[in-house]
Symmetry: C2
Subunit: 343 residues, 2 copies
């Protein structure tokens, strides 16, 4: 195995076995990313023989010495915490170990989300002061993009956890989207300060005291409206919002299909505009956003959708590189330390 | 004031002062409803002089003896609990008193939602055994309609409250939509029994024991997929889901507009299909569903959107009549009694 991390070169390990179309899509994405990020070193982790034979079959080139062997695979249906304990030689566990051991800066995977979260949290470890890592998502709004933290890394968040999500999400949006002072909204059931549940009412008071651009409560409609840059919520709520939003194109297709049945003109018009509709809705395709990092982990860990395309894998690698370049892990460490000291 | 309730005639009181387009839309909706429900007696409650002058100005006919005077109006921005205490002669308080006093069977309003909920709960009162009344919503899915309880009547629900929502929602869907044994799903972050937060995990166990068609956990995507007839959740989550869903047409309009800028063909196609899109999305317009009843109240109380059209008001009155006809309040009482006895 190569020597320890050099400060000059960013090393990113891609899980070759993660996702519904692994290893092919992961290999294609990694090769494409390497061609783009010429100054970085991209690695693949997984079943070496299988990777080599796919490379050969498809006349692809990827340096053999950059393949980190891992004999096991954590399947999509495996129980996350159990799998990371029993499958020590899985691509996810071996990949996270590369970051823990400071061999690599980042791990990128489209595999079992729960297992990547668990392995990242327990193997790579948390940034000192972070109670709970958080996973965000990016949704289109009428002005640009709304980011939401948390969308499923943890449920039953306490008020102080929501503050941590706000701090981490704010740093990510500032550094990656170049928004100097991201506005933050607390997802609730009304705009008024007095609206909310027990946890959000307490979080509201804590957020007000922080050195953040906190704009108070926002509602469900503010997500697509783009009222704030960062929406903060418990992972239970965020996960439901995420999955509901992902299912909009399917509902729309159905509703248009029903409408087409009612009128010949509408049928023709809908037929003509099918391409436009598809292209318009592609901007809601979060694979374009390059996966989502698990923030709060003491290293870079990017989680992708199971159905990731080669392009999605490539975008995840690029996102990992951006996080490395912008020192996001270190910046989160500094801000969380400040928060802990004032708590 | 007229004599007490007759078992034969359904009496429905419409808030003439409720909503952004009151009193005109309320008056028009009430007249239209009366023309449809010829065997019922529709009443208007509100500022009598104002109602009479609008009737005259617009050459409309509504019997003067069916106007119940109320000199005050609870405004949209008024604090609900405070308003129902201080504005005793408001249309909402006077309207709810008609149901409490058994003069009328139902109260229908497009006014301040919080005030209608508070007045219904405290003036009309709860059905014995009901801890928390619940407000639902109806969303289109690829098979028909998904109903969701609760969407904002209460937050920080306990597991037993979620069971109550399931019981009440199930009865409503069975009676109103004629679905003999409505399937029920618990909104959570994964399909597996082990997924959820503290409250849903406990509610899952309670729901399993009930004599309901409980199908386990459902996710955000299942709402539009139509996996179950009734989705049960805490009002905090349900309210966010509702408001997010309501904002979809606006996002879509924006995304299509952006797409039209990119391609002349797409611009033309989108232009041609504008009508079809609008018609397809109208099926997501919940005003068509005739407002939403506050279930668990010891009488019929229908809450409508502030921007209700005359048609929406009419549909709300028809919904109130259907609830009367199907004895939904009584049926909820019987089922809740059974639940309380096994608790």
């Amino acid at each position: 195995m190569p020597e320890t991390v050099s400060q000059e070169k960013c090393k990113i390990v891609v899980d070759a076995m993660g996702g519904d179309f692994a290893p092919l899509n992961c290999i294609l994405g990694a090769i494409d990313a390497q061609n783009t990020l010429t100054s970085s070193e991209i690695y693949l982790v997984g079943k070496k023989d299988e990777i080599l034979s796919i490379l050969q079959e498809n006349h692809l080139h990827f340096p053999e010495e950059r393949i980190i062997p891992a004999a096991e695979v954590i399947e999509m249906g495996d129980s996350p915490t159990n799998a990371i304990k029993t499958k020590k030689d899985s691509s996810i566990v071996v990949g996270c170990n590369q970051v823990r051991n400071k061999f690599a800066h980042a791990f990128v995977s489209a595999g079992n989300t729960g297992a990547i979260m668990a392995a990242s949290t327990f193997i790579i470890g948390r940034i000192p002061g972070v109670s709970r890592p958080t996973m965000g998502t990016f949704m289109p709004n009428v002005k640009g993009v709304t980011t939401i933290y948390d969308v499923g890394a943890s449920v039953d968040s306490k008020p102080s956890h929501l503050v941590e999500y706000a701090i981490m999400g704010s740093i990510f949006v500032k550094e990656i989207y170049g928004i100097s002072n991201p506005s933050i909204g607390l997802l609730s059931v009304g705009e008024e300060d007095s609206k909310g549940n027990e946890v959000t009412l307490a979080a509201f008071q804590e957020l007000k005291k922080m050195n953040l651009n906190f704009r108070g409560n926002v509602e469900g409609r503010d997500i697509f409206k783009g009222t704030v840059n960062v929406v903060v919520c418990d992972g239970f709520v965020g996960n439901i919002v995420l999955k509901l939003a992902e299912s909009i194109p399917r509902l729309l297709k159905h509703l248009l299909g029903e409408q087409a049945k009612k009128s010949l003109f509408d049928m023709l018009a809908i037929g003509l505009s099918k391409g436009a509709l598809k292209r318009a809705l592609t901007s809601t395709d979060y694979q374009e956003y390059g996966g989502t990092p698990l923030l709060g982990v003491n290293g870079i860990s990017i989680i992708g959708h199971g159905s990731s395309s080669p392009k999605a894998i490539k975008n995840m690698v690029i996102r990992a590189y951006e996080m490395y370049e912008k020192n996001i892990v270190e910046k989160i460490g500094v801000s969380i330390k400040e928060f802990v000291s004032v708590k």
